[in-house]
Symmetry: C2
């Protein structure tokens, strides 16, 4: 039976990425060696690293003055690296969910943190608007897509201080204006590569302004100066990331991705609206994520939650159990998710509705 992988992350990757990685595990770039055992200083891998950074630039139209950094680990380490590198006195954070809260928590190790707004009062079911950012904040941090709660900031904000965005789960999902950001970072394991790789797109002139000494590996300048080769990078995940970027380009780039993502999410949101068994967990339509579609049983059908989960598993649908802090279901429909699989989920919801 075909499996439809709706996991929130690690999550579905393009077949192109999986197939090419499997081949490279046996024979990388015709070297006769596995991508797991080649030196990161070999010319074949050096060009993988270069090409990966170039495709970041090309696909996201990254302007001059920015650097692309690729490092081992995930976004959680970036929660600490961002304030280590940027927070002198005060930082402003928007609290839109679990990951935003974790990022905010780490910043407190380094200075004063102002939570400019929070949607915690309604279990993060909306994106706060109309807040004020202190003019003397060193930066303003947002989490653009909240995987657990299914909300997303889908426009590039205009703010009065450097804007730092965790885009772990919606990078490459739409064209964007990188020039509005100071740092864009994330873990790679949603729209890009297997887990174990993080990226940071950094406006160079925002660095070097803090007084504290920064340990070498936590200093973004270390990685910039060394082209992300200061230490051994996670070779295989970088190789896989390159495959995904090549696939993105081949498919037509980020405009095409956005069109598809809007279409796929609309199909699912329309069904959630129509189907009497389900309802969305997101309060405002404009805050709904095109990456993670969260929904729960309507009040009168609450007892069917487990039944629907089991029914979906029987249908080859993987990973739609919602996070424990929301309950219900979460369909993660990243770039690599085909429309067919979304339609299959909709059909499954309709079949289940007919049964009840």
């Amino acid at each position: 039976m075909k499996k439809h992988n709706f996991s929130a992350g690690p999550s579905i990757l393009p077949e192109f990425t999986i197939k090419n990685t499997a081949e490279a595990v046996i024979n990388f770039a015709g070297t006769g060696l596995s991508v797991m055992e080649v030196s990161h200083r070999d010319k074949e891998f050096m060009s993988v690293m270069d090409e990966t950074q170039e495709l970041f630039r090309e696909l996201l139209e990254i302007p001059a003055g920015y650097q692309v950094v690729l490092v081992g680990g995930g976004a959680s380490m970036q929660f600490c690296m961002v304030p280590y590198n940027l927070l002198n006195k005060k930082a402003a954070y928007l609290n839109t969910g679990t990951w935003a809260s974790k990022a905010l928590h780490e910043a407190k190790f380094f200075g004063e943190v102002v939570e400019v707004a929070s949607s915690k009062d309604e279990n993060f079911s909306y994106i706060p608007k109309g807040y004020e950012i202190p003019e003397d904040a060193d930066y303003f941090h947002i989490t653009t897509n909240n995987t657990i709660f299914g909300t997303e900031i889908r426009n590039d904000l205009d703010v009065n201080v450097p804007l730092v965005a965790d885009m772990s789960s919606d990078i490459f999902s739409r064209p964007m204006d990188v020039s509005k950001y100071g740092i864009i970072y994330g873990g790679a394991q949603k729209n890009l590569a297997p887990a174990g790789l993080a990226f940071a797109i950094i406006k160079e002139d925002i660095l070097g302004k803090v007084d504290r000494p920064i340990p070498t590996m936590l200093d973004y300048q270390t990685h910039i100066k060394n082209g992300s080769m200061f230490n051994t990078p996670p070779v295989l995940p970088v190789y896989s990331a390159l495959q995904t970027l090549k696939w993105l380009k081949q498919e037509g780039g980020l405009k095409v991705m956005e069109k598809r993502n809007v279409e796929k999410s609309s199909i699912l949101y329309d069904e959630i609206e129509r189907n009497k068994l389900f309802k969305s967990t997101v309060k405002n339509v404009e805050d709904r994520s095109i990456m993670n579609v969260c929904f729960i049983m309507n009040d009168e059908y609450k007892e069917l939650e487990k039944d629907f989960l089991n029914f979906s598993i029987e249908k080859g649908i993987n990973g739609i159990k919602g996070h424990r802090s929301v309950g219900g279901f979460r369909a993660s429909i990243y770039n690599a998710m085909p429309k067919d699989s979304v339609e299959w989920l909709v059909q499954t919801m309709q079949e289940f509705e007919k049964k009840h």
Copy 2:
């Protein structure tokens, strides 16, 4: 032509590991999904993580009171995590090479660092002995195997303060007495897994004694409390690590590995002694590494260095160019390196000798 991979790291892995990883990239544990796209919270991966930690314990005979931590990144981040977690006032370091120097450098961000001894005076061609460790040091740090210089501390030292060892390049190469160490850590990309994974074996009671607040991801206790699942671990490298550990067990464990490693390195050292073209870079025989065999051209044959390198490449020998700080050649013969390949290198050295 068969390739013989003598790279220093990332480096040769067992065929068992490569083959099983390639299969799991297509279909992981019969799930119908790639190991690159399964959730780290799926039961199939949870048991991979558990089994990996259990095999660490079994193969290294780790006693009670120790925890095994697996995290994203490599040893370079551990250079910073060790003093973050342990250095209150003073730390002692043994300087045996490039990586030992880097570890020492990071500790200086956190307190006073005493270099108890260094072999820098003779380009790190020996392991210093007979040094004194300050009694009030919070810990004593060593790098057991110096990949660049081909020296190794192959016994478990008895010292008067907690012993911390970077074993990136010789973990699992011999049976050892873990009870003599406070922390054993390393990157996985030599004897264990593809790059992007670090391990730390930690005696629990040495933690919690520093006054400074520790950012969440840099705190070993975070990873211990969460069974190395606080954040998304590098799923594929962990899977590959498990394959290598299974292979190690299957082959007979660490006693067998040590026997093989001693035999393989002896074959090579014997040839270096015998062959008039070459000489070892390591001053004392007892300091010679069984993992990285470094050698250079004898003085009168210096001009043949490039020729031998090219000749070895023609013979399918990969990665024996020495590090720029030593020159010459370095044959890395980790656990997965078959005796046949070492013999092939010896034969190549003999053929080259006959030509000149």
